[in-house]
Symmetry: C2
């Protein structure tokens, strides 16, 4: 299959630019550094900072699993927007280290997803299109929606990047 | 390229099941039929019903453009959850009508995106991975988040479907 790195990197870079706007907003509104990372759409959904780390992890996981590269473990310790920017940066750096050729034949590679119940075994193609990608964009969209719902002036162009 | 229809249909079917849960919620809470379709995350974002129609249109548009099939026009006239279900159904029916073979060579097909400024000309590959898919999942996620933020009990399993 085609390397998923260009498309995912483009979106993660767009997310990084959205975070920069959130940092400017934080400064302009004199918000404490823990405020934005802890925003949620509703009490029983994950906070902003976890939306970012999970989004990063789906990009990292897809890159590693589909290419047969070891999946680096990044601990979830971020508490500020600057630390979340660093999380995106190290995710992008890992993705950039995997050459496009490593994805040859990935569509039929067997991928195991650990779930609470029985493990799911999927082809690379199905794993990517029906698990990694929907999850990646779900968490990116939710991060965007948390900021947008709190008054940050961002639009679809910011989301699409480019 | 591989047909995008299986992955997009799986997600649209998941969205239809989420709409069914919204219909049950509407009944249980005795809501007027216009209430849920008009919910928004914030005043200057599009309402729920438009999130659904735009989501459907990106799936329809990707299917039509990448396969070189005429893109059917569906007017945006939905005002109830039942009508939104019908919109998803007719989108799925159109997508199912396009055979997988029609997507052969679609990665290099030239796709023109009309924007407010100059038109964008993209390869099929870039159009799908960096425009149609992010847009599709953005609007699906936003529809989900509107419902989730209003107390509908849905989770990631509903989003991923399958």
């Amino acid at each position: 299959m085609q390397s998923p790195v260009p498309a995912l990197s483009r979106s993660l870079t767009a997310l990084s630019r959205i975070l920069t706007k959130a940092q400017d907003f934080e400064t302009a509104k004199k918000l404490k550094p823990e405020v934005i990372p802890n925003l949620r759409l509703i009490a029983d959904m994950l906070p902003f900072w976890r939306q970012i780390t999970i989004c990063c992890d789906h990009a990292k996981g897809a890159t590693a699993r589909l290419s047969g590269t070891a999946n680096p473990v990044f601990d979830d310790t971020e508490t500020t927007l600057a630390e979340l920017q660093a999380r995106i940066e190290k995710t992008l750096a890992f993705m950039a280290s995997v050459p496009a050729e490593a994805f040859a034949g990935a569509e039929t590679r067997q991928i195991t997803i650990k779930t609470r119940g029985t493990d799911l075994i999927l082809s690379g193609e199905t794993y990517y299109s029906s698990y990694a990608l929907p999850n990646f964009y779900f968490h990116m969209s939710t991060a965007y929606n948390i900021l947008r719902g709190n008054g940050l002036e961002i639009g679809k162009t910011d989301f699409l990047g480019g």
